[in-house]
C-alpha cells in the first residue's frame, strides 16, 4: 500500500485570474468542506507538498514561477489545474500576455473545469489526483528497488 494517497499535502498557486477559483480553493480548505478529513493540508511550501493546485492561466510573468515551484516539489507529485483558466486559459486565453493553460508549462495530471470551479469539483479532482499520486509513488518505489539491486 502506498501512503501517498493517505496524506496529500497541497500547495496552491494562483496565476492570472479573476481570483474566483482562488477563493473557492480556500473555501474547500475551510471547515465547511473540511478536506483535512482526507489528510489534506495546505502547506504553502513546495518542498512539503504532493499536489500542486494551480488556479488561473499562465502568462509570461508567472511562467517561470510555476516552473520553479513545480521543480522544487519532491517526487512523487501531481498537478491539478483548477478552473477553466488553469485548464485552457479560459476567458483570458487570447490576452496578449497569456500563454494558455497550466499544461503549457508543466505536465498536468487532473483538470477540474468550472468558472469558478466549485469546492466539490476541487475535492473530486484532488481525489483523482491522489490516485495518480499512488501510482507514481509505486513506480518510484519500484525504481528505487531496482536501483538497489
Amino acid at each position: 500500500m502506498a501512503f501517498a494517497s493517505k496524506s496529500p499535502w497541497v500547495i496552491h498557486y494562483d496565476g492570472s485570474s479573476c481570483n474566483g477559483c482562488d477563493i473557492e480553493v480556500l473555501a474547500a480548505l475551510c471547515p465547511g468542506y473540511d478536506v483535512e478529513r482526507f489528510g489534506i493540508i495546505n502547506t504553502g511550501n513546495p518542498k512539503h507538498a504532493d499536489i500542486f493546485l494551480v488556479t488561473g492561466s499562465v502568462n509570461e510573468q508567472n511562467k517561470a514561477v510555476i516552473r520553479e515551484i513545480y521543480d522544487q516539489m519532491v517526487e512523487p507529485k501531481v498537478v491539478v489545474a483548477c478552473g477553466i483558466c488553469a485548464c485552457t486559459g479560459g476567458i483570458f486565453h487570447d490576452c496578449y500576455n497569456v500563454l494558455g493553460g497550466v499544461d503549457s508549462v508543466i505536465p498536468v495530471d487532473v483538470y477540474a473545469p468550472g468558472c469558478a470551479v466549485c469546492p466539490e469539483n476541487i475535492i473530486d479532482a484532488v481525489v483523482q489526483g491522489v490516485a495518480v499520486l499512488d501510482e507514481k509513488s509505486k513506480a518510484l518505489k519500484k525504481k528505487r528497488k531496482e536501483a538497489a539491486l
Binding site: 501512503f3 496524506s7 483535512e36 482526507f38 489528510g39 504532493d50 512523487p76
Partner: protein, 295 residues
C-alpha cells in the same frame, strides 16, 4: 549500572515514544477539528503523514541538514531515555537543549532565507523558555529535598516520596505550563514553525526539509511532546500506584488545555513571548525557589 538503565530506557523510548507521540498528535488534530466544528482526519493521520514522507524521493539542499536532524533525533531519544529510566532531570533538560541546537543548526546550514528567519526565532524561543525549564528542574530537586533532606535531580526519586512534588511547587508548575506552550509549538508561541496555515515564514525552520528529513522532524516533535508531558506528570508522582493515574489524568487535562489555547489565541510577536516567558520565570523562580530557601 545506571548507564545500562539509560541505554535500555533509550531503546524503549525509541519505540514507545514515537508510538505514543503519534497517537497524541492524532488526538490533537482530532480535538482541534472538533473545536472548529469539523470532523477532522483519522486518529492515525500523523502516522500516514510520516509514512508518506518516508516514501518521498530524497532531495536536499545539502547533505549536512539530514545529518544534523538525525543527530537531533538521537539526542531527543536519549533525553527521553534518561527521563523515563528515572535518570537525572537536569541532564535530560540539557540533552533536549542539545537536540534543539542541532535542529536550529540544521535549518541554518541550508542558508535559505525563510529557514534562517525560522532558526533565529527558534533560538529566541529557546532563550525564552530556558530559564523556566531550569527552574522546573531546580524546583523539583528542592521539592524532593524538602521531603527527604537530600537534594536529588533523579526522576526516580519521586516514586519514593510521601507526597507529590507539586505541593511545594505550585508556582514553578504554573510557569512550566506557560513555557510548555512554546515547547509544544502551540499558538500563540509557534513563532519558528507552525502546524497552522500561517504562511509568512513558509514553514520556518523546516522550509528546506523534505521527505525523510521532515519525517524525522515530525518524530522528534512527537517524542518531545511525550517527554514534556512526562515532565508535567512528574510533579504529581509519589509513593503510590494511584499517583500514576493521577499524573496521567493531569497530563491529559494539560494537553487539552494546550490544544484549547492553541485554537483560541493568535500568534504573538517575539517581544511579547520573550518578555512574557521571562517575567513568568522570574516571578515563579524567585518566589518559589526563594520560599524553599527561606523556609
Amino acid at each position: 549500572m545506571d548507564l545500562f538503565y539509560v541505554l535500555v530506557g533509550t531503546v524503549v523510548f525509541a519505540v514507545g515514544g514515537p508510538v505514543l507521540g503519534c497517537l497524541l498528535a492524532g488526538i490533537d488534530r482530532k480535538v482541534t477539528a472538533r473545536m472548529q466544528g469539523r470532523v477532522g482526519p483519522s486518529l492515525l493521520q500523523p502516522y500516514y503523514d510520516v509514512r508518506k514522507l518516508l516514501e518521498k524521493d530524497r532531495v536536499a539542499v545539502n547533505s549536512s541538514e539530514e545529518v544534523y536532524v538525525a543527530t537531533a533525533l538521537v539526542f531527543t531519544l536519549l533525553a527521553g531515555g534518561i527521563f523515563f529510566s528515572g535518570g537525572n532531570l537536569l541532564l535530560c533538560v540539557f540533552v533536549v537543549t542539545l537536540s534543539a541546537l542541532f535542529f536550529i543548526v540544521a535549518a541554518w546550514c541550508t542558508r535559505s532565507p525563510y529557514a534562517e528567519v525560522g532558526a533565529s526565532r527558534e533560538t529566541l524561543q529557546v532563550m525564552a523558555y530556558e530559564p523556566m525549564v531550569l527552574f522546573m528542574a531546580i524546583g523539583y530537586a528542592l521539592g524532593i529535598a524538602s521531603m527527604t533532606g537530600f537534594l536529588s535531580f533523579d526522576v526516580r526519586a519521586a516514586f519514593y516520596m510521601p507526597a507529590p512534588v507539586i505541593l511545594s511547587n505550585v508556582l514553578v508548575f504554573a510557569g512550566l505550563l506557560f513555557v510548555l506552550t512554546i515547547k509544544l509549538r502551540k499558538s500563540p508561541f509557534d513563532l519558528s514553525y507552525s502546524h497552522h496555515a500561517h504562511q509568512e515564514l513558509v514553514k520556518g525552520v523546516t522550509t528546506e526539509m523534505s521527505g525523510r528529513t521532515l519525517a524525522m522532524v515530525e518524530i522528534i516533535h512527537w517524542c518531545e511532546n511525550v517527554l514534556f508531558l512526562g515532565w508535567v506528570g512528574l510533579f504529581f508522582i509519589w509513593n503510590s500506584a494511584a499517583s500514576i493515574l493521577l499524573a496521567l489524568a493531569v497530563v491529559a487535562a494539560v494537553y487539552f488545555l494546550e490544544i484549547w489555547i492553541d485554537n483560541n489565541f493568535a500568534r504573538v510577536k517575539w517581544q511579547a513571548m520573550l518578555k512574557g516567558a521571562w517575567v513568568v520565570a522570574l516571578v515563579a523562580g524567585v518566589v518559589n525557589i526563594g520560599a524553599f530557601v527561606v523556609l
